[in-house]
């Protein structure tokens, strides 16, 4: 007997009798004998107490640091109520809402989530979620190539290299080409874009705020794309959209990004959740699940998965995407976060992150060995150039329990010792002053 396997010997005997076989092994007779000779190298099971001991030891092999880096994963505050609500079994243990009559809970939060994403991005429609911001961007590329029947796409050099890598991987196997638009002064070089854009390209992917944290002004992009009938795909941190000009206001065709910044714990990179939103015109070209409103036979308002003919379970090889399971519970996370933080809280958390990052930046630039890289407005990542080797900096910070900046040299050797710092609303003035004091004596 084992706690997750309830059958007693008597149960098994009774069941075998009904099936009319002598043993459970008789249910596996068709499997070739030579395949069944297993001797697994696998330890015996642990009790709960032993499990806790084991994982306490593992957790102690880690060290929790105070992050002063973002670059795609930000240490924002998570209100306590969220874990209690998303841990409710009704949400946690259900699956895809195939039976809407008993899945109104899931469907309603997906509808609320879609509404929140549509509001923040100023787009017409959001889907129920993608895996992460990078794969959402890749799916947006597929949407664009599919809609325009073109096989090339442009991507700005100011997009986070992890996102670029994922987009390139997705493109490569389908035979699509990803070409770069240059950067100039830390932002997308619009002249280079204008020069290279053509009807061969399905559109352009830009990020705002970009990889360096710089807020790009994308006002002129729409017009350039109108000539070539290309799509404007903007990857944005959705939390920044509480304050910043939205993809919709820039005339985006597809808005994508990662909702980790809406209170999702860092959790070593996942689970996070990608969002994808688009215009009314492109609604039926979207990947993923979409929830809509309808009525039941009594005329009562109800929610249901809709526009399903786009999806793999109906369209098979002609589906818009192969996505099936997504990050639904994380959509609930984002929804509850937005509910408790609300209109004011979203703004306050981001303004405080903006303030903390700017204070940090000012203090660092006062030090002799650090200097400015670009003179551009930035959001909650900031870039500085260091005369000291980044490894030494990060080691010293680590001694004090601080996770230091990302050295851009990790992804591009020509950018070695350009350091990307970040501070959120969780970083106090004291924390920042401590960090600066460590840098000061290097």
């Amino acid at each position: 007997m084992f706690k997750y396997l309830p059958h007693t010997k008597k149960d098994i005997e009774e069941m075998l009798k009904v099936i009319d076989v002598n043993s459970i092994d008789d249910l596996f007779l068709e499997i070739p004998e030579e395949l069944k000779k297993l001797d697994l190298n696998f330890p015996n099971g642990l009790s709960e107490l032993e499990i806790y001991d084991k994982f306490n030891i593992l957790a102690n092999k880690n060290k929790n640091l105070i992050p002063f880096v973002g670059a795609g994963a930000y240490d924002h505050y998570t209100p306590s109520v969220i874990k209690h609500l998303i841990g409710r079994q009704e949400f946690l243990t259900a699956y895809t809402p195939y039976q809407p009559e008993i899945s109104q809970g899931t469907l309603q939060y997906i509808f609320e989530y879609q509404s929140i994403i549509a509001e923040l991005t100023n787009m017409h429609v959001s889907n129920a979620s993608m895996y992460d911001g990078a794969t959402a961007t890749a799916e947006a590329m597929f949407m664009a190539t599919n809609v325009r029947k073109r096989t090339k796409i442009l991507i700005s050099k100011t997009v986070n290299p992890n996102i670029v890598n994922v987009v390139k991987t997705y493109a490569k196997y389908r035979g699509f080409t990803v070409d770069f638009v240059d950067e100039k002064n830390g932002i997308t070089d619009i002249d280079d874009f204008r020069k290279n854009n053509s009807k061969e390209y399905a559109g352009i992917i830009v990020q705002n705020p970009n990889y360096y944290g710089i807020i790009e002004d994308l006002s002129d992009f729409r017009e350039i794309l109108d000539d070539s009938k290309g799509l404007l795909i903007i990857n944005s941190d959705p939390s920044s959209l509480a304050l910043l000009k939205s993809p919709g206001e820039y005339g985006a065709d597809i808005a994508v990004g990662d909702c980790q910044t809406l209170g999702i714990p860092l959790s070593f990179g996942g689970p996070y959740i990608g969002y994808l939103a688009t215009t009314k015109k492109l609604m039926r070209k979207m990947p993923g699940r979409i929830c809509g409103v309808t009525e039941d036979t009594d005329g009562k308002r109800a929610f249901v998965l809709t526009l399903q003919a786009r999806e793999q379970h109906i369209r098979r090889e002609k589906a818009n995407s192969n996505i099936c399971s997504n990050q639904s519970l994380m959509a609930l996370f984002v929804t509850v976060y937005t509910a408790v933080m609300g209109k004011q809280g979203l703004v306050e958390a981001q303004q405080k992150s903006f303030n903390a990052t700017h204070y940090l930046y000012e203090q660092i630039l006062k030090l002799d060995k650090f200097s400015e890289v670009y003179k551009q407005p930035f959001f909650k990542d900031c870039l500085v150039k260091s005369d000291i080797d980044s490894e030494i900096i990060n080691e010293k910070l680590l001694e004090k329990g601080i996770l230091g900046p990302l050295n851009l040299g990790k992804y591009d050797k020509s950018k070695n010792n350009l350091l990307l710092f970040s501070a959120t609303e969780k970083r106090s003035k004291k924390d920042i002053d401590l960090l600066v004091s460590i840098l000061e004596v290097l």
Partner: protein, 481 residues
């Protein structure tokens, strides 16, 4: 009382549900022309209002802890509570850019999970980066594509998929740059080997199979199929959707599969979360290990390391390391279950499925006779004289607090009712399901309109799905106009 308010509909301007500290950092201004001008409609509620709202919303859902959830092909087993507690331990809540020396515990979990998955499946090495089953398929097929390209075998543009396969299989094949071609099934749902032989050529990159297949039947000719495909120069992909029944009995690697994915949210008990997050680790045989996506977690001289770049890999397919939080839950489950109980997972799931099948086959039409594995498919009721459909049966089950089986899948069975009880269900729970199914069959005979009008006890009745798709209302703002 039916609660039908949206969070936006209980909002009041100025209300809030959070508190943030004031750290005395002065205010900095964002340049005006970069600010948004369109006002967003966002919730404004107190903390209790938010909590009460989502608690009431949750009551409209059916989860595994409420009742039997025999959703075929989805393996809705119990999601142990300890998994949740362990994965949310603060010690594992780390920034993905933390240095190697400070994340050894997390990497050990990642590495050990990889290793156990290899041991259980018979494939050499796994990557835990793929986010879900379909993502795993995509990654696996990219590996297949790269393998052929590296051999400069550019003619192989087709992937064979059975007509009974999940929709994700052909869809993934296309996203990975292949053309998907269908192989016919035998009446029992297994691959028709003769048809397969005709399809195999030097244009075929490989085949995707589940085993047991979607009808719950084990492909007993799997070794022959593997040989045929390999002889034709192709690779075999194992879709792990149906791995549960063969756990500890037989391994995909030993059957001849070259690439596979495992759904941690099915087989290894992590919660389905209303549709995710799942996790879809991909495993490969030794000669394909070099293609696994980056970043790769390795163990070198007793230290766990991350390899970010690798010229031979298919590339990067996730921003960081996949759904890491889900991996911790699966690892907790694997350590809890242990070797001594492991084989019983598959065996008991198969026992349960056969028991239900035998107990209901006098009332429901069983198109494929004989022993099944973890699931099986009925073709609706035997007595179809009253025109009670599978949809009607499913809806009537809702009134009895049972989650209906998967319906109208696989596509090869017209009135498909696909039942998968898992090993975590007791005989008592299973017997009461059988009783309900029998009752519904009798109702369908004696009072068909009762069944056709179901459900009656749910918060909403049958929905007008056509209206939703014809005039899509997809956000709160659409309701205001």
């Amino acid at each position: 009382m039916y609660y039908d308010k949206l969070i936006f509909e209980i909002s009041n301007s100025g209300r809030k549900g959070y508190s943030l500290p004031d750290f005395g950092i002065s205010n900095y201004e964002i340049p005006k022309d970069l600010l948004r001008k369109e006002e967003a409609i966002l919730p404004e509620v107190s903390e209790l209002e938010a909590v009460r709202h989502y608690t009431n919303v949750s009551f409209k859902n059916f989860g595994i802890e409420k009742g039997f959830y025999p959703l075929g092909s989805c393996t809705m087993k119990y999601n142990p509570k300890i998994n949740e507690d362990i994965s949310s331990m603060p010690g594992f809540n780390l920034h993905p850019y933390q240095p190697i020396s400070t994340i050894q515990g997390s990497l050990e979990i990642y590495y050990e999970t990889q290793r156990i998955l290899s041991e259980l499946s018979g494939l050499h090495t796994f990557s835990l980066n793929p986010y879900a089953g379909a993502h795993g398929e995509l990654v696996g097929l990219m590996i297949m594509q790269k393998y052929h390209q590296d051999r400069e075998d550019f003619k192989r543009t087709k992937v064979i998929v059975p007509d009974s396969a999940h929709g994700t299989n052909p869809a993934s094949a296309v996203v990975a740059g292949f053309e998907s071609i269908e192989v016919k099934s035998n009446p029992d749902g297994t691959v028709n080997v003769e048809s397969l032989k005709e399809l195999l050529s030097d244009e075929v990159a490989g085949i995707m199979l589940t085993n047991p297949n979607t009808a719950g039947i084990f492909e007993k000719e799997i070794c022959e199929i593997a040989e045929l495909v390999h002889d034709a120069g192709g690779l075999l992909y194992y879709d792990g959707a149906n791995l549960n029944p063969i756990l500890g009995v037989v391994r995909p690697g030993d059957m001849g599969f070259d690439i596979m994915h495992i759904n941690l949210h099915k087989t290894f008990s992590t919660p389905h979360g209303g549709g995710g997050p799942g996790s879809g680790p991909v495993g490969v045989v030794e000669h394909l290990v070099k293609y696994l996506p980056t970043p790769v977690v390795k163990k070198v001289n007793n230290e766990y390391i991350i390899e970010d770049e690798n010229d031979t890999a298919i590339g990067q397919i996730s921003h960081f390391y996949g759904n890491y939080g889900v991996v911790i839950k699966a690892y907790t489950y694997l350590l809890s279950i242990g070797k001594e109980n492991f084989a019983n997972v598959g065996k008991h799931s198969v026992l349960n499925a056969n028991y239900i099948k035998e107990s209901l086959k006098d009332l429901y039409l069983l198109p494929i006779k004989g022993v099944c594995k973890h699931e099986f498919v009925f073709d609706g009721l035997i007595d179809k004289s009253n025109h009670v459909t599978t949809l009607d049966v499913a809806k009537r089950l809702l009134d009895y607090d049972v989650h209906p089986p998967t319906i109208y899948f696989p596509l090869t069975v017209k009135e498909a009712l696909m039942i998968e009880p898992t090993e975590t269900e007791s005989k008592v729970a299973i017997d009461s399901f059988i009783e309900v199914m029998r009752k519904v069959a009798i109702e369908a005979k004696e009072d068909p309109d009762l069944v056709k009008g179901a459900p009656y006890n749910t918060v909403v009745k049958r929905l007008d799905e056509a209206q939703a798709a014809r005039k899509p209302i997809v956000k709160y703002r659409d309701l205001l106009t």
